[in-house]
């Protein structure tokens, strides 16, 4: 198996995902099977082959710097789960 239970827990922490114990076990098995399948990539000789992160020849597309109206505050906040005084409200990031 590629992935241990502890590794799955670690990846879930990186991804900020709360998983149940049952999910952790299931993902350890399923992700290991998928990674086993992905092993076939290691057979390919890629020495000197550049990566393709993106297929287009476009680079550094520039736009004119023209001021334009943005979303009104109340529209931007319309879907917010919690808001106050025209801001998104979140729990304190730093403890007192």
């Amino acid at each position: 198996m590629h992935l241990t239970i502890d590794e799955v827990r670690h990846v879930a922490e990186l991804a900020r995902l709360h998983l149940t114990e049952e999910e952790i076990e299931r993902y350890a098995q399923q992700l290991s099977a998928i990674l086993d399948y992905a092993e076939r990539l290691q057979e390919v000789d890629t020495s000197g082959v550049p990566p393709t992160p993106y297929v287009l020849p476009l680079q550094n597309v520039m736009a004119e710097d023209i001021p334009q109206p943005s979303l009104p505050n109340e529209v931007a906040l319309a879907n917010a789960p919690d808001k106050a005084n025209g801001f998104f409200r979140v729990r304190a990031v730093f403890e007192e």
């Binding site: 992935l3 590794e7 799955v8 990846v11 879930a12 990186l14 991804a15 900020r16 995902l17 709360h18 998983l19 999910e23 993902y27 399923q30 992700l31 099977a33 998928i34 990674l35 399948y37 992905a38 076939r40 990539l41 290691q42 390919v44 890629t46 082959v49 550049p50 990566p51 393709t52 992160p53 993106y54 297929v55 287009l56 476009l58 597309v61 736009a63 979303l71 529209v75 931007a76 319309a78 879907n79 917010a80 789960p81 919690d82 998104f88 979140v90 729990r91 304190a92 990031v93």
Partner: protein
């Protein structure tokens, strides 16, 4: 007239409205009645916008009376629910966006609205377009109009089923690894995936940003060409939209394929393909040869590496894209008492199983110590896959293959085995990795009466040639005139 209005193609309906035979309101009413009759069995829509549709139809009629001739004036269509529509709920098939109402409209949708489209509603999808059967929708599965115990394919299964069941004249879908072409094949309709960069992705909720492209599900090739003509072209809101001239794709439909070179990749005609699928595709290629095309064998040697490349690249991109769902700015919030715990709980509860699985896989592939072995390696093999296509298109104009190894499978058949589900995409993901264009066009049925699709693939920005070949084939056959045998309950 024995034909109901909802049965018409877009080009037939435009002609009928031009001649004053019926109005956009009458056409829209016909579609809405059809939805009422069959939607309970198909479940193609997450949201039906009946009142809005009738209002837009009345406006279209007014524009036509004023002498206007817009390209889609009064044409009722559906839009996959991963495309933002201002004021209309956009869920992405996810609980995390159950109540999300976008403040703006996707460029592709806006262009259709400006051209007079009537929006019937938003169609079901695998959650965040991650899936091949539409069973990963957090709301309900959609059923295949040809056999209600079968899946419509995915992830644009709601759009394909809506078109096949004549609940929409055409529909927008999105295709990251085959999500337009696979459901088109399973539902017996036309599915066009434009080249990466041909259609603006602004307002498309991102899954795999280097792969995603908006496409069309339609009843025939002419309708697909018509819709692409309206929505294609550069957009200042998407720096990855190509600054290429926009074309009238209907002009490409000459019906003439004489002398065109069509390549058959040996790697797409392999053991594991349902024999009836292979036979139907080979017969379709014979039809094209009879029409004067020059058919020749080619090789795309890295085809069997495409699936692992896709599931590493797409999930890595997804893990970054879906980081935006944090329970702060929009979407479901668990209301936990620390910010970190609120991220974990909101995402853990808001996302479904497949989305979490892909976020996990992508996060792992990008994590320290594994980046080179998985993500970088996948991107290098992606280069080889792209080069396979570039070499092939030096020898041929179009590549023909099956869309999928099988016809539509049963609901529940593959839900417990993610890898088996992923294999449905084995013949479609290559194009997304290479950024090129392709189409699925109906080419027959298996013994159980399930539709089979012919895939035609073209080079980057080669939509004209792909549409031309698809149209010539379609006009030489009768498959596109067959409709799902949905009895209408009184």
């Amino acid at each position: 007239m024995s034909q109901a209005l909802y049965e018409l193609t877009i080009h037939e309906a435009l002609e009928g409205m031009r001649r004053g035979e019926f109005s956009a309101v009458e056409l829209t009413r016909s579609l809405l009645e059809r939805i009422e009759q069959v939607e309970g069995r198909i479940k193609a829509y997450l949201t039906v916008t009946a009142d809005l549709a009738l209002e837009q139809a009345a406006k279209a009629d007014a524009r036509r009376r004023a002498g206007e001739e817009a390209a889609l004036l009064g044409i009722p269509m559906a839009v996959k629910d991963v495309l933002c529509t201002a004021g209309v709920r956009t869920t992405c098939g996810s609980r995390i966006l159950e109540n999300f109402i976008p403040p703006y409209t996707a460029t592709a949708v806006q262009r259709l609205l400006d051209a007079g489209m009537v929006l019937l509603g938003k169609t079901n999808t695998d959650e965040f377009a991650m899936g091949s059967s539409t069973e990963n929708s957090a709301y309900f599965p959609t059923r295949n109009p040809w056999a209600l115990d079968r899946v419509p394919g995915g992830s644009s299964g709601g759009s394909a089923a809506a078109v096949a069941a004549q609940e929409a004249m055409a529909a927008l879908g999105t295709d990251t690894g085959g999500s337009v072409r696979l459901p088109a094949s399973f539902c017996g309709v036309v599915g066009l995936k434009p080249s990466y960069g041909r259609v603006s992705r602004y307002g498309l909720v991102a899954y795999g940003s280097s792969l995603d492209q908006i496409g069309v599900l339609a009843r025939d090739v002419r309708d697909a060409a018509l819709v692409l003509t309206v929505m294609a072209g550069p957009d200042p809101h998407d720096s990855t939209s190509m600054p290429a001239p926009t074309l009238d794709y209907q002009a490409a439909l000459t019906g003439d394929v004489r002398g065109l070179r069509i390549g058959l990749p040996e790697e797409y005609f392999i053991a594991g393909v349902q024999p009836e699928v292979e036979a139907a595709v080979r017969r379709a290629i014979d039809v094209l040869a009879d029409l004067g095309a020059d058919v020749r064998p080619i090789s795309l040697p890295n085809t069997d590496k495409a699936l692992p490349v896709y599931y590493l690249v797409a999930t890595a991109e997804a893990s970054a894209n879906l980081a935006r769902f944090d329970g702060v700015r929009y979407g479901y919030s668990a209301g936990a008492d620390s910010i970190l715990e609120n991220y974990r709980q909101s995402r853990g509860r808001g996302f479904g199983a497949e989305v979490k699985r892909r976020i996990m896989l992508g996060t792992y592939a990008l994590s320290a110590g594994y980046y080179d072995a998985y993500y970088l390696k996948a991107q290098q093999v992606r280069t080889l896959i792209k080069q396979d296509f570039e070499r092939a298109f030096e020898q041929v104009d179009v590549i023909a293959s099956p869309v999928a190894p099988t016809t539509a499978f049963r609901l529940g058949e593959k839900t417990d085995d993610p890898l088996a589900m992923y294999l449905s995409d084995v013949f479609t993901i290559t194009l997304n990795l290479a950024g090129m264009c392709g189409i699925s066009v109906p080419c027959g049925f298996d013994r159980q009466g399930l539709p089979i699709g012919l895939q035609l693939m073209g080079p980057h920005l080669g939509e004209e040639i792909v549409l031309r070949v698809a149209h010539a084939y379609e006009q030489a056959t009768e498959w596109h005139r067959q409709h799902a045998p949905l009895s209408i309950k009184a």
